[in-house]
Amino acid sequence: MTALAIFLCIAAQLFLVSGQILFKHAMNEAEPKPLAAKVRLLLVGVASQAVWFFLWLGLLQKWELSRIFPFEGLNPLLLVMCAWLILKETLTVESWVGIALITAGLTLVAQ
């Protein structure tokens, strides 16, 4: 795969994960917030997932499905990395093993 295609696959997953987190916060009953704030979160979430969708369609036009679909495996990896980078959670050994395996797998798929 080209460097641009790999970059776009990763970017698409970032937009997908951001959308998921935004939706979760918009819908979370445990953290009450004014309607305007909910709507704003939802709209940014929808926009984020729309970017993912059109990047994904663009990738599908050029690459085999069985080659780019494995990049969905980045979804859990990115969530764990977000918790590490944003929430300063410490990463357990099993997290690092998982991150290494997913990265190694994607390297093989992208070749």
């Binding site: 599908l60 494995p70 969530l79 918790a83």
Partner: protein
């Protein structure tokens, strides 16, 4: 009782369709719908000409294909199924199971799109699935906090 009324009462009787709303059946159903969605989106993507230049980064032209729209419906149904699953099954159980899509999609792509999935690609997919399994516990924790 007319046939229609009889059919309606059969459908409404609890138990007859209960197996279908079983969350574990829905995990498989959701994975199949997701797989169909991806294959249909791919069909829509290749049924339409690619834009020139930088616009080719985003796939807008596939919206002109009916395949794409059926794919979107299938994908949305898979999301509905997933939300239903998460109402009764914890993420730590449901997430490893939904990862069968990593097997379903390449198998579907080779059957319906005639893609050749090489041994190297399968090995990569196996590593990814193993990695996802390894990451489940931290993932569930991250999901709760993010």
């Amino acid at each position: 009782m007319s046939d229609v009324a009889q059919l309606a009462s059969t459908v409404r009787r609890p138990g007859v369709l209960a197996w279908f709303v079983n969350p574990y059946v829905q995990i498989i159903n959701g994975a199949l719908l997701d797989t169909c969605g991806e294959i249909l989106l791919k069909k829509g993507a290749i049924a339409s000409p690619t834009a020139q230049g930088w616009l080719s980064v985003v796939g807008l032209t596939p919206l002109a294909s009916a395949w794409t729209w059926i794919g979107i419906v299938s994908y949305v149904l898979s999301l509905v199924s997933w939300l239903h699953v998460l109402r009764s099954v914890p993420l730590s159980v449901a997430f490893p199971l939904i990862n069968v899509v990593h097997v379903f999609v390449p198998v579907g792509a080779s059957i319906f799109l005639h893609e050749h999935v090489s041994g190297k690609r399968w090995l990569g997919i196996c590593l990814i699935v193993l990695g996802v399994f390894a990451i489940i516990k931290p993932l569930v924790k991250a999901e709760e906090k993010l």
